[in-house]
Every structure is written in structure tokens, then in C-alpha cells.
Subunit: 340 residues, 2 copies
DNA sequence: ATATAAAAATAAATCGATTAAGCTACTTTG
DNA sequence: CAAAGTAGCTTAATCGATTTATTTTTATAT
């Protein structure tokens, strides 16, 4: 018993496939097809469990009911959570997700965009690396909806959902200063993406306000964690005077904790720590680590809402919107209890 | 400038699209097409950056160059890592991944399988919930390659990649016993999937061997973590005599640590802990928590290798293979240094 | 009774590829 | 020199849907 096609249905019912197609696409009324026929076709289709071949459908209509999701790295808890939430809402709205990890690699991302185009995805959700401005511009020019998140491309006028990065680190750093810390470093991955620039700036602003000198260490990202640990270890060994550090991402923060553990640096007694992105590692550390929690649900929610809206108002180019969400500084004391 | 089709190429070069197609598919020699023409076409295609429409291609050939990946929950670090590794190797081999989270929900999984079929994915990678035996059977009957991992369906004869679950918990439990612990519980999510049954059994075997009585607590899974914490807290409050616990998954282990933190139970002084699945939370806990590390890379590697092999030997039904990998008990002492 | 409009259904083109089968012109061969 | 072979392309069918244009049937008005 091979797969049924619309022709099989039409033949079996002695009607034309056109009729079947109209009925199946809810255009029966519009095309004034007799109620009894509609009934008969609907029933039979239900009975034999016929499903239209979506490839053929996509080929003809140009719509694939698929959304392309490009994150930095799907194995990063932050992106994994967002992907999960987006996935759920996409499926509920009849869309499937094709995802991929860009690794912040411009060339790879360009190829992936081409791959997505090739597969005729209806919409794009991208946490963009730099250097893909032209490609995104082209997508927009071709009328394809694009929503960015976590960061955006300043030169490209498109919708994006972000958090208030600058205020987040500013606020976190001020928190440390108010607690009496005086030698506060900012450690993060080397990146000139918008979110990271803002995070560094927020830190610097806070220090400037109190007339401290900023100490920023940028680590070059590497798949191999050893290559992150090494330079960071060297940095901390060199700057013995530090009494606090703000980490720019969960990953770099986690590496930092590993290093402190190895070096026997006590957190927060020897070194106060605040990391961007909150997750179990920080919550369970003892004592738990203060973290800048991103509103993951809200981010995912906004991203998919904006995209779905664009998908449904095809052609009508609504002015692009940028949504900036607030983060939540999860202050965790030196008590061993979980505050969260 | 809209997208070029093969007809555009053919017209422009004044050849038939058949010729272009043959050349593009590397069948020029076979179809004895003149070298100069091949040259001319290749060059022009390169020049204008023509890419065949993959939907049309898939419709005609029946191949979509897509692999469907169904995990329990993409936001779980274990599955996220595996997904990431599989993704990488799939892309390298010209395959794209469509993924989804099953939530171990039978009905949802059935629908997702249908969705995948509908999209003509070439191969399936599934961490299967129970109850989808018939659906998988049908896939196999229709000649579609399926590889399972993390667990398998005993009634279905298909390839799968797993770890030695029984020995893993047996070994971990014995380790605790040898350390002198006498009241060891096993806490996990309620599940009758193969991997979980084996994990429980391994624990029981070890206890039986030493004539201890097993204490197994099965928590009903819930999206809302509160609903996991609550019954588990009740369990630990009730069993004050426990001095050690083996957790069946990373998620349940993490919840356990949160509870101990709340209750002020010191790990491992008041309660020794070993959890299945290793990740940063366990490594960074102080003192770090002993964990049963799954060979994530190997699992992903084997899964994709087996699947690619099946995809390349289409039709030739090779006997199905089961691959059982070894886990690694990461023993972490009470020293504060990272052993890992 | 006939022209006209409305209702109901269909034929055929199309989306963009692949591929079996066929055609033409030239070269071999007996 | 005619028959057979082969090199080099092309024609047309096909995959499975959607959709435009068209036809057939029935109802209504004149």
C-alpha cells in the first residue's frame, strides 16, 4: 500500500483533482462546490488518511511552512532553551523548524542562509554574526521576513528582539561597587557584536562613574575548552589584585568558575563573581553565583510573535520593530540557601 | 532579479535543460556530452550562481537530503550536545537536520513522525518513547532507515546505539557500597523505557549483592520543575536514614542538588550523590559530584555513521546492529579541586 | 421557448527539477 | 555502399500538488 496522491483520491471518487484540492484547501464555498460533494470528499480523505505531499505543495505555492532558526550554538543552554520555546510555538502554529549552529562563523552562516533559501523556508530567525549584512539585506529585499535576536546588525533595518545589555552590566557592576569591591574585571569572548559591545560599555560606564580603571579581558573563542581556560588562567594569575569579575556570557562564566576551582580561588571571598546568563550551574554553585538572568521565555515569545505576524501580513512591509527586554539581576548572597 | 531555474540556464546557453541537468549531476561522461559543452555550462552556472531548487529535486527524486532528529527535549544538555554533534556531521555529509522534542509523549511523537514522513526526510534518528512501535515498524517496512539512541524499542528490530545502562548504575552503586554507604536510594523519573529499566536494575543488582534493601523513588515528569521538586523533597524528608543516592538522569540529579541545598543537606557529608549524565553542574559543584558520564561524542558518531551507511546502501537491508557503548564513572572526591 | 446568469465541476498549465526514450549526423564495418 | 553503431543532444513524461481558464449543467428571467 503505497502513499496516496490527490489523483488517487479523485479517481476513486470520480471527481477531478481540482475539486478535491479546492475542498481540501477550504475553498469549497468560494468555489461553490456542492455541500454533499464536500461532505463525501472530506469523509473519504479522512477515512484513508490522505495527506497532501508537502513538497509538491511547497513547490507550487512557494510556501514551505518552515522557519529557519540560526543560533550560535545549539548546545549552549541559553540558545537551547530559546530554541525549545520557539520550536513549541512554531509547531503549534503549523510551522516546522530547521535549525543550525553558526558558531559565529560568517562564511558558515552565509552558506547556511543559502541552504535555507534553497529549501524555501518562509521565515528566518537569526542570532547573527557580523559580516552577513548583505545576505540579510538580500533576504529582506526578496520579501522574506527576518527576525534577529540576542543581537542585531546595526546597518540592517530589520526587526529584532534584544535585552538591555548596557544597563544589565552597568547595573551588575554598580552592584559590585556598592558592595565595596574595588578591582573589578570584565571577562568575555572577543566579539564586536552589538550585545557584547554594549555589555562591555555598561561595565565601563559603571567603573567610570566611580573613577575606577576598567580591566577588560577578551578571550578568543575556541571549540576546545582548553583553549579558553588557558589564556583566562593566565589573565587571572597576572591580575592578582582583582577582587571581583563580571563575565560576559554563561560559557565564559562557567570556564571562570572552573579556573577558580583549580586555582583554589574562593568565590566570593577571594573573588566576587557575576555572570551574564543564569542557569543551573550558577544557581547550584555554593554559595550560589549572582547572575544576570535573561527573560528567555519572553525573548522566545516575542521573536516568534513578531515573525508570525510578518508571515501573516505578507507583502505589507510594516516598519521594523525593535524590542528591548529587561534582564533580572539575580542577586545571590553568601548564604548557602538557594535564593532562586 | 528573481531566482534562476534550470530552464533559464538552458535557454541562455541554447541547450536543452536535460543536458544541463546531466552535466550538473555529474553524468556528463556517462551521457557522452561533449567536453566543451560541459565546460561552457559549468562555467556559466558557476558564474550566475545557479542552484537547483531542492524542492523540485526532492519531489522528483524522492530524496530530500534531510534527516529527522527526534530527541526527548532539546533543551536538556545531554540531548543538546548530541544534537549538536549530529548536526555537524550531517551537514558535512550534505544532510540537513529537522529536529523536534518529543517530551516522551507518544501521541506527539506519532504526529511528528507523520510530519517527517510528509516532508520526506531520508532517515530517522529517534530517542523513542514507548508506544510508537507500529509507526516505526511502518517506516522500516517502507524502507526508511531508522536509528535509535539512548534507548530502544525491544519489540522492534532496528539499529540502535546505547550505553551499558545496567552496568553503569551497578558499578556506581557498588562504588558507593565500597565506600561504606549503607542506605542508598535510587531516584529517577518514572519511565518504563529500556534505558531506565536497566538503570534501576543495575542499582538493584548491586544492592542485592550486598543484601541491602533497595529504595527506589520514581518521580512523574513535569515541565514545571516545581512539580518535580515537591514530591522529591517529600521523599527525602521521609527517608531521613539515607546516606547516599543515585540519580537516574542529569535533570533529576540537578533537582536533587537543589533540594539538598534548600534542606541544608550537605553533599557528600550528609548525603553522597552520584548522578547519571555528567555536565558542568556536577563538575562545578563543591565538592564536585561523581557522575556517570556518557560518551556523548561516541554516541553521536555512531548514530550518524550507522545512519549514513544505511542511507548509502538503500534497499540492501543489512541486518540491524545494536551498539552498546561504555560509560565512564567520573569519581570526584571531597577535595575542592576539579578532577576532570 | 430562449437568452442569460449562476452554480458546479473540470481541463490544462504550472512550479522546477530528473530521466526514459528518441532523434540526428557521423563513423564503422562487412 | 547499405546496415549497424555511436556520439551528442533533445523531446516529452513525470513527481504531486495548486490555480487559471474553461466547460457543462441548472436555474431564472424575458
Amino acid at each position: 500500500m503505497k502513499k496516496l496522491s490527490i489523483v488517487d483520491i479523485a479517481n476513486e471518487l470520480k471527481v477531478s483533482k481540482t475539486t478535491v484540492s479546492f475542498i481540501l484547501n477550504g475553498r469549497a464555498k468560494e468555489k461553490r462546490i456542492g455541500e454533499d460533494l464536500v461532505e463525501r470528499v472530506t469523509k473519504y480523505v479522512e477515512e484513508v488518511g490522505y495527506k497532501p505531499n508537502s513538497l509538491a505543495k511547497s513547490l507550487r505555492t512557494g510556501k514551505s511552512n518552515t522557519i529557519g532558526l540560526m543560533v550560535e550554538d545549539i548546545s549552549n543552554p541559553f540558545f537551547a532553551s530559546i530554541a525549545r520555546l520557539i520550536e513549541d510555538r512554531a509547531y503549534k502554529n503549523g510551522y516546522k523548524i530547521i535549525y543550525c549552529s553558526t558558531d559565529n562563523d560568517t562564511q558558515k552562516t552565509k552558506e547556511l542562509i543559502n541552504m535555507f533559501r534553497d529549501r524555501h523556508v518562509d521565515g528566518y530567525i537569526i542570532a547573527p554574526p557580523e559580516g552577513i549584512e548583505d545576505d540579510v539585506e538580500q533576504l529582506l529585499k526578496d520579501g522574506l521576513p527576518v527576525v534577529m535576536f540576542d543581537r542585531h546588525l546595526p546597518k540592517v533595518n530589520t526587526d529584532y528582539v534584544e535585552i538591555d545589555n548596557l544597563f544589565s552590566t552597568y547595573n551588575a557592576t554598580r552592584h559590585l561597587i556598592q558592595q565595596g569591591y574595588k578591582n573589578i574585571a570584565f571577562v568575555t569572548f572577543a566579539s564586536s557584536q552589538t550585545q557584547m559591545m554594549a555589555r562591555v560599555q555598561g561595565y565601563k560606564d559603571a567603573l567610570k562613574e566611580s573613577r575606577f580603571t576598567p580591566v577588560v579581558k577578551e578571550i578568543v573563542f575556541n571549540q576546545d575548552e582548553e583553549m579558553i581556560i588557558k589564556p583566562m588562567t593566565a589573565f587571572f594569575k597576572k591580575h592578582k589584585d582583582l577582587d571581583a569579575v563580571v563575565f560576559g556570557t554563561n560559557h565564559v562564566g562557567t570556564c571562570g568558575l572552573k579556573i577558580f576551582s583549580t586555582l583554589g580561588v574562593k568565590v566570593p571571598d577571594d573573588m566576587a563573581v557575576i555572570s551574564f546568563d543564569d542557569y543551573d550551574v550558577f544557581k547550584l554553585y555554593s554559595p550560589p553565583v549572582t547572575a544576570i538572568a535573561q527573560p528567555v521565555d519572553e525573548i522566545a515569545d516575542n521573536v516568534i510573535t513578531v515573525l508570525l505576524k510578518k508571515l501573516n501580513t505578507k507583502g505589507v512591509s510594516t516598519a521594523s520593530h525593535s524590542i528591548i527586554l529587561k534582564t533580572n539581576l539575580q542577586i545571590r548572597g553568601s548564604s548557602s540557601g538557594l535564593k532562586d
